[in-house]
Symmetry: C2
């Protein structure tokens, strides 16, 4: 496994491999890897000739007062995990290498970047799109792998690549969960013992909402009310950013199921939520 | 010479040539070609193995009330001109092919996109950056050629490629002028006979300002005042958007020459202006 800190050497080396016909798989991460990440890397190792993993805690996707400084980092632990998966390349640039002195260019997906998480984290998805496009240009992968816990991120990056004619296949991968159902996330490590036990309320409420939707006996408005009540009653849930029913193909909000299903080719429903357990922001979703 | 209207076939064909080692040169244009364009194409033909020229009047770089609808178009004439230069590929997509139904992604260079022409044409450079990045991804050139009449455009595109790690060399090329000095522009054809004769006032005023700067006897503020007076006195000059002295390396405004020259490695001065001759907006510049 080769570790690169600078742009030019890894760009040149992967470019030469690609020219010789290698299919390059890429897994961009912010490090502090968990089983969600390893599932992406393993899939890339299985499907591609060469797999590159990046580790970069991207400052421009964090807002003021967010957890950029405290975001967990442990490069040595990450290297061991990546080595075990069989990935060949690791790219771990520092902020200076990625943004230099006078960085000025931003990529923005209008509309879908300002709803859901984007509404509560203004500029977040511009930061994500900008760094992902830069990483794509540096690594030049054929396929890039993204986990569906960050459903909106997957959606927006896919839209960006389509709109900008970026020739990278954006592969979605299923959410990996702890035994009790909590979605794997580097931020779970912020949770205290009691918070951790209670954090599963997010997934349980999403699954309960899923059952209610399938049951078809009550309206989405009622299901949302019941879900918000369930979350609100848990003393560890400090606040709820959103609990939304959306079209996974467009991220448009679904107000009424009957009207929605009448739309051509609409048959899936995304239920996505973001809540705070103590001071830790958690997101999760289910697609029906 | 091959003409392509669709993205995928030209992307695939040029991609295959590039994989076999061909150096691809690219000249993006809005068509209605003049000798400024042909100088770019000829340079690419000379320097590269394969030259591709795009013709696309990009709607998203025009503001409301600007000349998108009336912008001169003549594809057949353009094809003959390109054929004569020896370029091998022409890409002439329609708006639907480039932007589809639900285009949402924009690229923006903060700061330098909002001054000079950007101040008077809000969103213009976002439109330019977005389409140029798309065209770069479609054509995948090694070198792209831009004329310096649009100095700010050249500057911003170069900055965008550096910031986003786009591996395309941005080659600047000198302004091509009519015999009297008027910079070649597709928009010159809007000018009536008398307007055309008077349009040279722009270049003459820039050159006079250049001489005054070289003479070092009066301040930039005084030179600007004299220049604005000269332009203002011409009855065909309807209005002046700007007449600026700027650092060609940063586009920062130069207020005082002595202070400016004291800055490390600053030895060039850009004098750039935009004026209306009748209802036609003309831009030009000189670099000292």
């Amino acid at each position: 496994m080769k570790i690169f800190k600078n742009i030019k050497p890894i760009h040149d080396e992967l470019g030469a491999l690609k020219k010789n016909g290698a299919i390059i798989g890429f897994v961009p991460t912010m490090g502090f890897l968990h089983k969600g990440h390893t599932s992406l890397i393993q899939r890339s190792v299985k499907e591609c000739d060469i797999t590159a993993v990046s580790i970069f805690v991207n400052p421009i996707q964090f807002g003021k007062g967010e957890d950029f400084d405290s975001y967990p980092r442990n490069a040595q632990r990450d290297y061991s995990i990546i080595e075990e998966t069989g990935a060949e390349y690791v790219f771990v640039p520092n902020t200076e290498e990625i943004y230099g002195e006078d960085f000025k260019t931003y990529v923005s997906v209008k509309g879908s970047g300002n709803i859901m998480c984007g509404k509560y984290r203004p500029g977040h998805f511009d930061g994500v799109c900008t760094v992902v496009l830069k990483l794509f240009n540096i690594i030049n992968p054929d396929i890039a792998y993204f986990g569906l816990k960050d459903f909106q991120q997957f959606f927006i990056i896919k839209k960006m690549t389509e709109d900008l004619n970026v020739y990278v296949k954006i592969q979605q991968c299923p959410i990996v969960r702890e035994e009790d159902g909590l979605a794997m996330s580097s931020r779970n490590r912020y949770l205290s013992g009691e918070e951790r036990k209670n954090a599963v309320i997010l997934y349980r409420t999403l699954k309960a909402a899923e059952e209610m939707v399938k049951g078809k006996s009550i309206s989405l408005r009622q299901i949302k009310k019941v879900s918000l009540d369930t979350l609100g009653k848990n003393p560890y849930v400090k606040s709820i950013d959103y609990f939304d029913f959306r079209d996974p193909g467009t991220l448009e909000e679904i107000k009424n199921l009957k009207t929605y299903f009448k739309l051509k080719s609409r048959n899936k429903i995304l239920i996505a939520a973001a809540i705070y357990i103590g001071s830790t922001r958690l997101i999760d979703n289910v697609v029906i």
